[in-house]
């Protein structure tokens, strides 16, 4: 069953098209990742779907409700964690959660139990009387999540939830999301981190307001035709320049490694070896690897950063 659907959803700000004809559908209980660099239109999409921004054209439905005509009805059913989640720094952990529980009219009966579960779940129990402003970045994110979950939403919107959060907290955060998935909560998450995108069931690649691809992670990686070669050599920068000039395939630099996307594996290997030998650069290692999402981004997107 589709929990979320958009039809040519478009939002313009003056001359800028922030989101261009987005059409996608998300199944119930799915973790869907909206992946793209800064300025791709991720936050705009989130705001359109949560009904806090009106589309310029196109339509969207969340849990069967229209985002413009039935905005207020949607708000009871969704949890939204904006990019800078609106915690009140002078309120304690407990008071922040209580405030959102009141706004969503969570019944007093059973509220305590749910609160205890959320606090335990996010390891915030020992800090319940601490003011939110004095929490670490990771704890703030988890408190934001707890606030967005207090009313047991059917759909959860998370806008770059782990931006600037340490890796341990990120892992904790995802553990919580997987538990929610067990409860059939649909999760729509945006991220600029590709390793995070790989944790989603399906992803949509967003670039300059346009959806470039939408599939499972493996499906998106499969969009890369040909083979991906990884090589190590001395002087990787001149080597990259050399390979680009030789037009062997698309070249991306990752630290001291180079990724080269070639059409045919065997011929590609020979061409790389020949080009480097001609340029006098010693090749240390050359192997064929599984593409990562980063490779998809750097080679599939026009203007994608390497």
């Amino acid at each position: 069953m589709e929990t979320l659907r958009t039809q040519a959803l478009t939002r313009r700000f003056g001359d800028l098209v922030a989101l261009d004809q987005l059409t996608l559908a998300v199944e119930e209980g799915e973790i869907f990742g909206l992946v793209g660099p800064d300025g791709a239109g991720k936050t705009t999409t989130m705001r359109l779907l949560t009904g806090i921004l009106e589309p310029s054209s196109g339509e969207a439905w969340v849990d069967g409700l229209h985002t413009v005509r039935e905005t207020e009805a949607i708000k009871d059913r969704i949890g939204y964690m904006s990019q800078r989640f609106g915690l009140y720094p002078d309120l304690t952990v407990q008071e922040n959660i209580d405030f959102y529980a009141d706004l969503y009219e969570v019944p007093k009966a059973g509220r305590g139990e749910r609160m205890e579960r959320l606090l335990a779940f996010s390891n915030l129990t020992p800090f319940r009387r601490r003011q939110a402003g004095n929490l670490s970045g990771g704890m703030k994110q988890k408190l934001g999540l707890a606030c967005a979950l207090i009313h047991t939403p059917r759909v959860l919107f998370l806008d770059e939830p782990t931006n600037g959060v340490d890796p341990v907290s990120r892992r904790d955060f995802w553990r919580i999301l997987y538990q929610l998935q067990q409860e059939r909560v649909t999760i729509f998450v945006s991220t600029a981190y590709l390793d995070e995108a790989e944790r989603c069931n399906r992803i949509g690649l967003l670039h300059q307001g346009r959806l470039m691809a939408c599939d499972t992670v493996d499906g998106v990686k499969g969009l890369l035709r040909g083979a991906l070669l990884e090589l190590r050599c001395e002087a990787p920068r001149p080597a990259a320049r050399l390979l680009r000039e030789a037009a062997i395939g698309s070249v991306a630099l990752f630290g001291d490694r180079l990724h080269v996307l070639v059409e045919d594996e065997a011929r590609g290997r020979q061409a790389v070896e020949a080009a480097l030998r001609a340029g006098g650069i010693a090749l240390r290692e050359l192997r064929t690897i599984e593409p990562s999402l980063e490779d998809v981004f750097t080679s599939a997107l026009p203007g994608g950063s390497a």
Partner: protein, 380 residues
Amino acid sequence: MSGFRFSRLRAVAHKEFIHVFRDPRALGIAIVLPMIMLMIFGYALTMDLDRVPLAVWDQSRTPQSRELVSRFEGSRYFSLVASPDTYRDVEEGIVTGRVMVALVIPVEFGRQVASGRKAQVQVLTDGSDANTTTLALAYADAVVKTYSQEILVEKVRRLTGRPPALPLDLRFRAWFNTDMESRIFIVPGLIAVIMMLIAALLTSLTVAREWETGTMEQLISTPLRGSELILGKLAPYFAIGMVDMLLSVLAGRFLFDVPLRGSLLLLFGVSAVYLVGALSLGILISAKAKSQLLASQFAFVATFLPAFMLSGFMFDIKNMPPALQAFTYLIPARYFVVFLRGLYLKGTGLAELWPQGLLMAVFGAAMLILAIRSFKKRLA
């Protein structure tokens, strides 16, 4: 779709109370600022004129001239600060501001008075401040006239053996402010000005702060309604505003000795209505500005200046140009100033002051509705 829920309003009010009480500086400003303003304006803003610095150049040096000078010295309106003996000294005193009024008694003054001829005295004043000068001149005129009258009476008594009966005798009595102290008149109006400013300043930050910190985006993604948010936000500031009002009334009574002749209950009832209007105006400004700095600056300009200058507190509305007079009807402080003065000085009640009360209620309701409408559950 859920309708208005009191529980959500209460949740917002509870949160706002926490904001206020966990920020001692803000709370301190909310309580101390109106008191400071009341002190400064209450003591400094006096329209009474006494002890006008006076210079006397007595060229005559006769018993008659000394008598005139002693009458000036004896008046509580003048205080002799200089006795120049050249015009240059007189001029210097006035130019430097040490002297406001200079009395020049000519050489022949004593002789002329003694012989019953008409004598002239010259009064020079610093006319830069027209109002004060007019007052000072009126005082000087009164002193000279009294003296001149007494000379006349004495002359008649000497000729006829008994003093003449003066044809007219003015007996006046000032009602409501029998001692004619401007303080009694100023303090009630001052309360209206201060309450307007404080109320709008208090709330001008609340909505803008939510926009600045990003909590507003979160709030509009919840089922919270505009009326719940705005009324919830008003609650704690209304409480603080009423405490400020109470402190102002107490200060007026015990510090400035301004008696309240009307009903205390009516005073607080009308203050509550006025306060709702002022607080809502602050919220409206805050919602439109979306930035705390801009909102507080705008709230200051939009409330303090009109309330101070155009409410009839400082300047009589009847003396303003017609266009400005028409504009003053939009300023709620105008009604509250009249209401408070009536209540304090004359002890009048709703029977006389209902139009002001009604207009304040209209203003309050309009501002509240605009404030609630200003909350849109959409970005951009």
